[in-house]
Amino acid sequence: MAVREAEPVASLSEVKEAGLDREDLLGIYRSMLITRGIEERGHILYKQGKIPGSFYTGRGNEAASIGVATAMGPEDVGTPLHRDMGVHVVRGVETWRIFAQYMGREDGPTRGRDGNVHMADARLGLIAMVSHLPAMLPVAVGCALAFRIREENRVAVGWFGEGASARGDTHESMTFAGTRRLPVVFVCDNNQWAYSTPTHLEYATDHVADRAGAYGFDGVVVDGTDVLAVYREAKRAIEKAREGGGPTLLECLTLRMEGHAVHDDAFYVPKEMFEEWAKRDPLERFRVWLQEHANMTGEEEEEIAAQVKKLLNDALNRAEESPLPTPEQLLEGVYATPEDLDTPHHK
């Protein structure tokens, strides 16, 4: 039951064993660029006054979110959070819809009803988060329970921050999942800060994953800036769950590379901490890795970058054309109708 600290991924052959070919790797890299790009563009939109309310990014968490999402099967489901834009990207959300969501437009997944990453496309196997952290963990456990009841080979992935690990929802979720050995993987985005609160005020162990044993399952700590290591560990955990081996607590260690939200300059984070982790930028790390281990050429790199740029530009343009919702829409759909049940996720 002891916590295992995962090794980095060294070679291409190791990656192939884990089920990824070179195309997949370039795809991952592309997803990372898209993810970062979405959030960088979002930031600009915010500064331009086009995003109402506040604005959050997952800068520094791209490898963690994308590594896990890549390891999920098509029928698996997840409840990603505000640092996990990469999950939406990997699962195939249309980029323009995210910008529309940011700007409160009608074509965002919530049609302007909610903001930020408080969204998900249920058809992609994702359930939209609420703000209350980590209230989506019991929901993820419920998905896993459904899979267990129906004896399906599906797995649920529930995300939570190291701050939110302090809340009762985390405990009840892990307790229930642990006693019933449900097919769920708990992914902790440990970015070392909960708003301004450091980790030692949120938990008294070395790692959040040290708590896994308290629930009767395994804990793994992985470098959350190493997308392949995250992928490998997530894959193991997910496949273990799929085979009836019960939950895993997978902790992805990163640093939140910006303030809690756009208004926060993160003065409380030691400068050296930022400097140190800047050297481990997940995109840059993976770029170099691809060059060294997968012979990614300069041409390929440029091509991907250009594709991503075009994707983002097109998406932005399309999103800006999306209308704002009209006041009449406010009252629609507080209650579901029987017809609403004719959706893929309710099959």
Binding site: V77, P109, T110, R113, D114, H118, M119, A120, A122, I127, A128, V130, H132, A135, M136, L137, P138, V139, A140, V141, G142, C143, A144, L145, A146, F147, R148, I149, R150, A156, G168, D169, E172, S173, T175, F176, T179, G333, V334, Y335, A336, T337, P338, D340, L341, T343, H345, H346, K347
Partner: protein, 322 residues
């Protein structure tokens, strides 16, 4: 058709639905081997197995929250709170996640929470509450409070069918005390429709749950004042039209509930009547409810707390004489 207790009607309805629809499962503390604190699910685990009749850990957040997930995955969870009072430990999951998901992102969350509620047998502050008013204020939840065995069955089936999170309050004091004819076949009762428990011309009583019977007793004592009793059955949505129609007929109305007065759902009903039937009223809208205290344990206190027949009689007389 057979005569059944209120409890038996609930139990039979649930078993019928579980036989009919594989998506329905039951989860709660001690619902399996023990059959539930009130034995509503007695024998269910033998019939349906441990994965459709799930003994949960003592963890209401996990119970309620997991229902949301399983519901979105296409199942039809029916959770049991051991006592309605303990739903306070699942409050956040209900009001924050389940209630808002459909409106926010279009995802229906069809599940039922069964809540054995109400007082009358010295359960004390934590085994007697009627928490429906707190939830009635949260858009996105539906709330049912059946008073008769027939409604108990039909509304439970409607709740399970409904594509929304539904809180189904079953009054413990009716469990074994109230009997009635219950059709054997499957049937539903429309959510949001009141039932005229008793027709009358002079004063209307708007009520639900165990108070339907208190109102009935009171009406008997009124002599020549003719009392109409509207059993709301469904608190959210509630049958405004039926209430307003009754008020327009009688011009006098008493709103009665077992939960405490201030901010109780009776206030919403009274306020609505006062606003929408103002011209039809011949007397102030009267509310009779428990006083604003926790539910007491000792019998003389509990009797003073729960609205009694004499309290309703007094209110009705005042209205009749107005």
């Amino acid at each position: 058709m057979a005569e059944k207790t209120y409890l038996q009607a609930i139990s039979d309805a649930l078993r019928q639905e579980m036989r009919r629809d594989k998506r329905v499962y039951v989860i709660g503390e001690d619902v399996g081997v023990y059959g539930g604190a009130f034995k509503v699910t007695l024998g269910f685990q033998e019939e349906f197995g441990p994965w459709r009749v799930i003994d949960a850990p003592l963890a209401e957040t996990a119970i309620v929250g997991s229902c949301t997930g399983a519901a979105i995955m296409g199942l039809r969870p029916v959770a049991e709170m051991q006592f309605a009072d303990f739903v306070s430990c699942g409050w956040d999951q209900l009001v924050t996640v389940a209630a808002k998901q459909r409106w926010r992102v279009g995802t229906p969350v069809p599940f039922v929470v069964r809540l054995p509620s109400g007082g009358g047998f010295s359960g004390g502050p934590f085994h007697s509450q009627n928490p429906e008013s707190s939830f009635a204020h949260i858009p996105g939840l539906k709330l049912l409070c059946p008073a008769t065995p027939e409604d108990a069955k039909g509304l439970l089936i409607s709740a399970i069918e409904d594509p929304n999170p539904v809180l189904y309050f079953e009054h413990k004091h009716l469990y074994r005390r109230i009997k009635g004819e219950v059709p054997d076949e499957r049937y539903t009762i429309p959510i949001g429709k009141a039932r005229t428990h008793q027709e009358g011309d002079d004063v209307s009583v708007i009520t639900w749950g165990a108070m339907v019977y208190t109102a009935t007793e009171a009406a008997k004592e009124l002599g020549d004042v003719s009392v109409e009793i509207i059993d709301l059955r469904s608190i959210m949505p509630w049958d405004k039209q039926a209430v307003l129609e009754s008020v327009r007929k009688t011009s006098k109305v008493l709103v009665l509930h077992e939960d405490t007065l201030s901010g109780g759902f009776g206030a919403e009903i009274a306020a609505t009547i006062a606003e929408e039937a103002f011209e039809d009223l011949d007397a102030p809208v009267k509310r009779v409810a428990a006083p604003d205290t926790p539910v007491p344990f000792s019998p003389p206190l509990e009797k003073a707390f729960i609205p009694q027949v004499e309290d309703v009689v007094k209110g009705l007389k005042e209205l009749a004489d107005y």
